[in-house]
Structures are given as structure tokens and as C-alpha cells.
């Protein structure tokens, strides 16, 4: 046995999924509403209330399961997890213990140029608890969150690298966002991640003692917390101490994990089948239709962008960081085939614009495509496109209309430009002199003059080429 310690990591992700109403309640599923306003009697666990299953939440779980290559159970079974806690209104949580809707899946992604696979044990549906706001002398309870649909996604203890853990969380987040089943906001708690981690000597047959880390609010912290925890456990073992089974949290200011509680025997949740919901049979048609109606994942888009549209991996990756811009791109490609121009324009001008605090963005893909077509066809310059974009971004006006209304054109006719250049050189003998003396700036000076003369309408690239040719001729 070597002296190398191998960490083993498993992740549990709770993903709040989007739907109009809650998991088992018809109360609206809203984030950020005034506390205790999205609440029905069942969300407070009032006597006599009964759960009803939210179809939209089930569809979200099916879409996620499918994206994670899981087996999908065509019969829904729900169980009760019983425990007393101040954030648990009914005294039990309705979850799926025995038969999760998704099982035995995996997720592949790239790290340092090679492919990594994370095995996923299960995905199950459950309801969120109410939100507790702790103060010194009291705790406030916000039941808006009570009953919000959750998908819990549990990996097998198959990760051995903090970076893989981080990438996995980022990938799950991306999948949730691209399927439009979750907003994936870790900072708002709609994606929560718990880490289980142990270390053992290389070649050891058994896992070491497992430590759980909770309250990780960013993917960067997932990586940092794991890295810290690996070192902490290593130094304990190297000093002949034991790792205790405990729950820790990550303290961002100290960049270290701190003890929350030592785990004694596991709580007995006394699971049993939820008697208020009979098993629900899902037809093959329902499951297949749900899967078919799923939105395209980022990976699929990436392949299409790079293989079919031949844009660079860098550009594709930049675009895919923002789903709504990727959708805009997809939409624009229906009218515009200048993919490189289009993706650069979106990654540059459009991204800058939509990142602006108060910028209203309503431009359709069709109009954006038309705008880039004008550039591609040399009818307008990039600078002109930028100006037009600012005019149409908010009101979604047609760029073609703008061009014709305002008489915006680009002079790309060689003969016209040549005439102008000849005239210009005749008027500026000094510039020709400078050029001959090796002053490169002379050419750009002349391009500037042409642009000024044409009020920006000259095609700058063409003008520059023709000026250089003409200078050499003199």
C-alpha cells in the first residue's frame, strides 16, 4: 500500500425546478415574493389537506433524468420521510425513497482535453421545506418555499478530484438551465449542493470516514471546500488522528470548512409509502412526448455550432454561457448564414448591450440575422451595424427599413472609390511623399480622409487596399 491518499467524493444536488405551482400544492411557485404570500393551507400542514401531484414538475424530472441518461420509472411512487423540524410543516416530507423516477445514469464532460464520466445513482422528486431566517432571539419562517418542487440528484461515490466535482455541478446547472427546468441560481438557493468526502490510502479496500459539507453557494466554493477538506483529512491521518463522521460548512471568509455538528447514529426517517397518493402509471406516450419536447442541451448546440456552422470552439463556448443569447443565435441563423460574423456580433455587441443595467432588449433573431446579412453582403460597415443595432435593439425595428429610411449605404464599388482616391492623392502630394519615405501612417491618414469624405460610407477595408495600390503606382 502506498502512502498516497485518494479522496472519494459523492455529490447531492437539490435543484428547485420551475413550474407554475408547487410540487403537491396549487400555490404559486414564486421566488422573491413577499414572505408568506405564496401559501395555501397544505403548505402550512393544516389538518385535512391533501397532496396533488404537479404534472409540470414530473415532466421536469423526466427531462432531467433523460438528459442524465437515466432509466425512467414509468410508475410514480412517493414515500414519506418522517422527522420533526421547525422548517417542515407536515412533520414529514413527501419524497421518493424506494423508487426514484430516475436511476443509474451518468454525465460525461471534458477536463484537460480528456473525457470524464460521473456516475449518477438516482434522481428523485420531493418538496422543499420552508425557509428559516435566524435572528439572535427568534427565527422567522417563510412558507413561500414550503412545497417548491425539487429534484435531488445523487452521484455514486465516484469522483476523486475537486475539479471534476466543480465541473459536474456546473454541468448539472447548465443542463437545468438549457432544459429550462431550473434557473440554477446557487446564490439564491435554487441549486444547492452537499458534498460527501472521505480519503483513504491508495489501494485501500474500504472508504475512509465520510464527512459532509453543506451550504456551498458557488461552484468555485465546491472546489475550494473539497480541496481544503482533502488537506484537512490528510493532515489528521498523517498525525495519527481519526477523521470524525461530521457535518461541516464552508466558511468563505476563512476559506476553510468548519464543524457544524458531529453525526451520531443516522436519523431513522421511518420511510413508508405515501398513502394519500396512489401509484401513478405514466404512459409511454406521456414519457416520450415529454422527452421529445425537451429543449436542446448546450452540448448538442456546441456540436452543431462547431461542426455545421464551423465557428471556433472558443466562440461557441462563449456564446453557450448565456442560453438566451444562444437561442437568439439559433433564431438568427434561420435568416443569416454569416455564422462567424453573427456569433462575433452576439458575443460582442449584443452581450455588452444586454449586460447593461437598464437596457431593454427585444430584438428578434430574424432582424438580427438581417442586420448581419447587410454586413456580410458589404452593404453596411461594422460600425454602421453597431449604430443600427442600438436603434433596433429595444423596439425590434427592421434593419432593412432603417437602412433605406436613413439612406445608410456603404460604397463598395471599386471604380467609384478609385475615382475618389485618385482625386485625393492629387490634392495631397505630401502624403505620397511621406509614403515613399516609408511613413506607414500616410496610408491610414488617407483612409481616414476617405471615410470623412464619404461620411463613413466607404468600405474601409476596400478603401485601404485601393489606397495602398494607388500609392505604390505613383
Amino acid at each position: 500500500m502506498s502512502n498516497n491518499y485518494i479522496p472519494t467524493i459523492g455529490l447531492e444536488i437539490h435543484l428547485e425546478t420551475k413550474s407554475k405551482s408547487k410540487m403537491f400544492s396549487s400555490a404559486p411557485n414564486t421566488y422573491g415574493a413577499k414572505p408568506n404570500t405564496s401559501v395555501l393551507p397544505i403548505d402550512l400542514g393544516m389538518p385535512g389537506t391533501l397532496p396533488t401531484v404537479n404534472e409540470e414538475a414530473v415532466k421536469n424530472a423526466i427531462k432531467l433524468s433523460h438528459a442524465l441518461h437515466m432509466k425512467i420509472d414509468h410508475t410514480l411512487h412517493f414515500d414519506r420521510k418522517n422527522y420533526f423540524y421547525s422548517d417542515l410543516p407536515k412533520g414529514y416530507q413527501i419524497t421518493q425513497n424506494e423508487r426514484p423516477i430516475g436511476s443509474d445514469g451518468y454525465l460525461d464532460f471534458q477536463l484537460d482535453g480528456s473525457s470524464v464520466r460521473v456516475e449518477i445513482e438516482r434522481l428523485h422528486m420531493e418538496e422543499d421545506t420552508c425557509k428559516q431566517l435566524h435572528y439572535t432571539d427568534f427565527t422567522l419562517l417563510d412558507y413561500n418555499r414550503a412545497g417548491v418542487p425539487l429534484c435531488e440528484i445523487v452521484t455514486r461515490p465516484c469522483i476523486h478530484d475537486a475539479r471534476v466535482a466543480r465541473l459536474y455541478v456546473e454541468k448539472i446547472r447548465e443542463i437545468g438551465i438549457y432544459l429550462d427546468v431550473s434557473d440554477g441560481k446557487m446564490e439564491e438557493g435554487s441549486l444547492r449542493c452537499d458534498v460527501n468526502i472521505s480519503i483513504a490510502k491508495e489501494g485501500a479496500k474500504e472508504f475512509g470516514t465520510k464527512v459532509e459539507i453543506k451550504n456551498l453557494n458557488s461552484t468555485a466554493n465546491v472546489e475550494k471546500a473539497i480541496a481544503y477538506e482533502i488537506e484537512r483529512q490528510k493532515s489528521l491521518l498523517e498525525n495519527g488522528e481519526k477523521v470524525r463522521q461530521e457535518t461541516r460548512r464552508f466558511d468563505e471568509s476563512k476559506m476553510e470548512t468548519v464543524l457544524m455538528r458531529v453525526k451520531t447514529d443516522a436519523v431513522d426517517y421511518k420511510y413508508f409509502p405515501e398513502p394519500n397518493i396512489l401509484p401513478i402509471k405514466l404512459s409511454d406516450e406521456f414519457v416520450n412526448d415529454t422527452i421529445e419536447s425537451s429543449y436542446e442541451l448546450a452540448d448538442v448546440k456546441f456540436a452543431r455550432y462547431t461542426n455545421v456552422f464551423k465557428v471556433s470552439e472558443y466562440d461557441a463556448n462563449t456564446l453557450l454561457k448565456n442560453r438566451s443569447l444562444a437561442l437568439l443565435f439559433d433564431d438568427a441563423t434561420k435568416t443569416c448564414q454569416y455564422y462567424d460574423l453573427l456569433i462575433h456580433f452576439i458575443n460582442g455587441d449584443v452581450l455588452t448591450y444586454v449586460s447593461g443595467a437598464n437596457n431593454v432588449f427585444n430584438l428578434s433573431g430574424k432582424h438580427l440575422g438581417e442586420l448581419i446579412n447587410l454586413v456580410g453582403e458589404n452593404k453596411i460597415s461594422n460600425a454602421q451595424a453597431r449604430d443600427i443595432f442600438k436603434v433596433i435593439a429595444k423596439d425590434n425595428k427592421s434593419p432593412i427599413d432603417i437602412v433605406s429610411e436613413q439612406g445608410i449605404t456603404q460604397i463598395s464599388d471599386e471604380d467609384t472609390l478609385k475615382e475618389m482616391i485618385k482625386k485625393l492623392l492629387d490634392e495631397n502630394p505630401q502624403a505620397i511623399e511621406d509614403f515613399k519615405n516609408g511613413k506607414g501612417r500616410a496610408a491610414s491618414f488617407l483612409v481616414g480622409l476617405i471615410m470623412k469624405l464619404t461620411k463613413g460610407k466607404a468600405n474601409p477595408a476596400l478603401a485601404s487596399k485601393l489606397i495602398n495600390e494607388e500609392l505604390k503606382r505613383r
Binding site: 400542514g45 393544516m46 389538518p47 385535512g48 401531484v53 421511518k270 398513502p275 397518493i277
Partner: protein
């Protein structure tokens, strides 16, 4: 006005209303008067203002001939959620709890313009079968003026209010026998429909896989009318079943009915008066052409009903009542931590019987006990239902005395290990296991105390069972029995 109008059935009162012989407000005033005069401690709350206001409103409305329930006063068990009206399930932990929503059953009755005049006391949280565990004390049996005999439970106040002719019907709930047993002790028709046909939304859960909306009426026809009214698919209840029930009109003829008698069930019946009346009835039915066949059910399975019921219902109950923690509603005790608040709320909020059931319920759900207790009980439940369904494949139902004797005295100790107790006092839960319809109806009196038989049928055979019960009722000579007029029925 006929001064005994409330002793009549729903159908009869409706006719009187249609004919204009009685006004809604007359009816309700009389019902309220009787409720206040009642000495049986049957009510959590008598709703004078609410009921009178509604009745006076209805005085000005033409009585619709197609709505039997128009202006009919009734009593609702206090475990149905009523918006704006205190609902405690007779438990201290819900003292002063005022719900924010209506139970579906209450909504349906409200829409039909039936008038709720009171909320009935009950055994705390619908657990217990004695009528002694309500937080307002014991409910008494109107047939027993001396107040030494029980009315049973848990729907004790509902039973007492129909038996003392305060109202012609009352809503209860039945998890093991909570309507059908008190019906026997109070001389009433007690009907538990097929599980899933009547919405449980708003009924405080005791054990959802067994809980059934059930009720008391004065005769079988009324039970049928109420069934027709309340049987309605409800989107708010995932276990609400939308099924078209089959009816075989041939079953209205006694000659086309086949009932089973379980020999190993009836063998424990010892009371001669009850047995004689019961056997006389069976003989009259046989003479009239009914096919009554004796079969063995299986002693082991019969003995297993009671413990199986306890394990399943206590397990579900401990979870269903975990919402009662003093945090969100009901009395909020002091405490330095949430654990203390919860412990204090539950310590003073529940009686000992409830705590005992919760402890047992938790015990059987523990991981190490689930297999040997909870899961085994569920397996035994399946075996019992399997046996029942097998026997009922070629019969319309089975019949027995609903209870081995008349209402027991509070002071009398029962031999809790005897077959008579373990089996005959607790077998009615078999219909909660199977979900099938089950009806109790009075057949006789002993010492002026009533007793009844029970007939249980296959799930979804409600209409046929009600037809058969009507046939049997016509042979019983006890149709319309009430404590007010018990003398008329004494032979």
C-alpha cells in the same frame, strides 16, 4: 307543524317542506332546541346564528323538488375542516383552531343547501371507539338515560345527534368501524361507502389508507340519497376515484340475493337475545328466498384483523398527526428551542391514548421493526382482503352482528384477549382493509338498547349493497328507530 318532524327521514321531511307543512326556519329552530336540550354531550359547538340565518334565507326560496337536502338540518363531525368555524377534532392540541378552507364534503352539503346546525364531538382525533376521549368529556348514548352505557366511537356525537332525533342525518368518519359500530349501539343506519368514492379532502387524516367518509341516517333509503349526493370525483384528493358504479336491479328482489355467514366469526356470539333476533331475521330472509350460505373464513385471519389494524393505523396516525406541533396553528406553548415548543405542545395537547398509539406507530415504523411489524401487517392485510374477495366472488356480501352485544357499560371491563373481543368486536375493519362498502342497520332491542347487523360487500358494489340492505331492513321491523320513540319499537 308536526312536532315530531325531526323524527322522520330526510325523504319524509323533504316532502313536508315541499308541501309547505314546515318551513326551513321551523325545522332548524326545532333542531337547535333539541341540540341545546340534549344531555348527551354530543356537540363541540352548536351553530345557532349560522344555521338560523341560513334557514331564514331559505324560507324565501321555493323548495326545489329535485333537491332532497334543501334545508335539511345535519351535524358534522368535528374532524371536517370548516372555513371560519372552529374545528378541533376534540383535541386540546387544536383548541381554537379555525380552518382557512372547507372540506369537500362540507362544500357539497353547503351547495345543496343542507343546514349544518352543530359540529359533533368525537373521540380525540378519531382514534378510540368509546366516545370517552373527547377534550370536552364523554359523549353519552341517548338510549341510556342513566348514562352508564357507551355509544361507541369515534363518531360518537354524530351518532348521538341522530339517535336523539336532533337531525335526520349526521356525517362521521370510519377508519376501523367508527361509524358502523356506534350505529349498532345507537340503533342507526351507519354507512361506510367504498374507499375513494367520497372525497377525503378536508377530513383530518387518521390513517389515509383506511379513512372513509361515512355517515348515520335513520333508514337505508336516506343512506342511498346521501351517497348519491356525496359521491363525486374530487381533483383535490389524489385517491378520489372516478368510476361508474354498476347496479344489478335484480338484487332488489330478496330471491336473487346471496349472503355469506362466516361460521368462525359467528361462533363467538354468545348473547341469547341478540342471537335469537339475528337468527330469526336470517330465517325470515331464507324463507323469503334469500340464499344464505355458511362458510369458514379462517380463524387465524379473523384473529389477525385487530392487530393488523392497530399496526397499520397507528403507523399512519403517528405520521399524519406530526403536523400538530404548536408551530403553525393551535395553541403555541412557550419553549426556548423549537424542540421544546413541539414537546410542550404535544405533551399537553394529546391525551394518553393518543400518545400510546403514536409510540406504537413509531415503533412499528422503525427501520429495524418495519419488516417484522409494519410490512408484515400490510402483507396480512392483503391476505385478509384476498380471502374476502375470493369468498365474495360468488356472493353479494357477508352478514353478521355488527357488535357481539348492546352498548357496553363504561364500568364493564372486557376480556381483551377473548375471541369475542379480538374478533367480533373488531372485525368491521375488514371493510377498511378491502375498501369495500359496509352498512350497519338496527334489528332489535335488548333492555331498550338497540343492536344491529352489518353487511359488507365488494369494493364498488355500493348500489347493490344498498339495495340488499333495504331488503333486509324491510324484514327487520326496526326501520326509522330513534331514541325519542323507542317505546314504539319495543315488542
Amino acid at each position: 307543524m308536526d312536532k315530531h318532524i325531526l323524527d322522520l327521514s330526510i325523504e319524509e321531511i323533504h316532502e313536508a317542506l315541499v308541501k309547505g307543512e314546515v318551513k326551513p326556519s321551523d325545522l332548524v329552530k326545532e333542531a337547535l332546541k333539541r341540540a341545546h336540550e340534549s344531555k348527551d354531550n354530543a356537540f363541540e359547538m352548536i351553530l345557532d346564528d349560522l344555521a338560523l340565518k341560513k334557514a331564514e334565507e331559505l324560507d324565501h326560496v321555493v323548495v326545489p323538488k329535485n333537491n332532497l337536502f334543501f334545508a335539511i338540518p345535519y351535524v358534522l363531525k368535528d374532524n371536517y375542516s370548516t372555513k371560519g368555524i372552529k374545528t378541533t377534532a376534540s383535541s386540546n392540541i387544536l383548541n381554537d383552531y379555525i380552518p382557512l378552507y372547507d372540506a369537500t364534503i362540507y362544500s357539497i352539503l353547503k351547495e345543496s343547501n343542507a343546514i349544518m346546525i352543530a359540529k359533533a364531538s368525537m373521540d380525540e382525533l378519531a382514534m378510540g371507539g368509546t366516545g370517552t376521549t373527547s377534550h370536552i368529556g364523554t359523549t353519552f348514548n341517548p338510549f341510556d338515560k342513566a348514562h352508564v352505557r357507551s355509544i361507541g366511537g369515534s363518531s360518537s356525537g354524530s351518532a348521538a345527534s341522530v339517535a336523539s332525533a336532533v337531525v335526520p342525518f349526521a356525517i362521521g368518519s370510519d377508519t376501523g368501524d367508527s361509524v358502523r359500530k356506534p350505529a349498532s349501539y345507537a340503533g342507526l343506519v351507519g354507512y361506510k361507502p367504498t374507499w375513494g368514492l367520497l372525497s377525503r379532502f378536508g377530513l383530518f387524516s387518521y390513517a389515509p389508507s383506511l379513512d372513509t367518509v361515512a355517515y348515520f341516517t335513520r333508514d337505508v333509503i336516506d343512506a342511498r340519497h346521501l351517497f348519491n349526493l356525496l359521491k363525486k370525483h374530487d381533483d383535490k384528493d389524489e385517491t378520489s376515484l372516478n368510476v361508474e358504479l354498476k347496479e344489478d336491479v335484480e338484487k332488489k328482489n330478496v330471491k336473487n340475493v346471496k349472503l355469506l355467514v362466516f361460521k368462525d366469526l359467528d361462533i363467538n356470539l354468545k348473547d341469547e337475545t341478540l342471537l335469537k333476533t339475528y337468527h330469526d331475521l336470517l330465517n325470515r330472509l331464507k324463507e323469503a328466498g334469500m340464499d344464505i350460505v355458511e362458510v369458514e373464513f379462517g380463524h387465524d385471519l379473523l384473529s389477525a384483523i385487530y392487530p393488523t389494524y392497530n399496526v397499520i393505523s397507528f403507523a399512519e396516525a403517528t405520521s399524519n398527526n406530526a403536523n400538530l406541533d404548536g408551530v403553525k396553528f393551535g395553541p403555541r406553548p412557550e419553549g426556548n428551542t423549537y424542540q421544546e415548543v413541539m414537546m410542550n405542545a404535544r405533551t399537553v395537547g394529546f391525551s394518553n391514548l393518543i400518545k400510546r398509539r403514536f409510540v406504537i406507530g413509531s415503533y412499528v415504523l422503525y427501520k429495524e421493526n418495519q419488516k417484522t411489524l409494519f410490512l408484515r401487517a400490510k402483507k396480512v392485510r392483503r391476505l385478509i382482503v384476498q380471502r374476502l374477495n375470493e369468498l365474495l366472488k360468488n356472493a353479494d356480501g357477508f352478514i353478521s352482528l355488527a357488535a357481539p352485544n348492546i352498548a357496553p357499560k363504561f364500568a364493564d371491563a372486557t376480556d381483551k384477549l377473548s375471541d369475542a373481543y379480538v374478533i367480533n368486536d373488531n372485525y368491521l375493519a375488514i371493510a377498511n382493509f378491502s375498501g369495500g362498502p359496509s352498512i350497519t342497520l338496527p334489528i332489535g332491542l335488548k333492555e331498550n338498547m338497540p343492536f344491529g347487523i352489518n353487511i359488507t360487500a365488494k369494493a364498488f358494489d355500493d348500489l347493490n349493497l344498498l339495495n340488499i340492505a333495504e331488503v333486509v331492513e324491510s324484514f327487520s321491523g326496526m326501520k326509522g328507530l330513534s331514541a325519542k320513540e323507542v317505546d314504539k319499537y319495543v315488542k
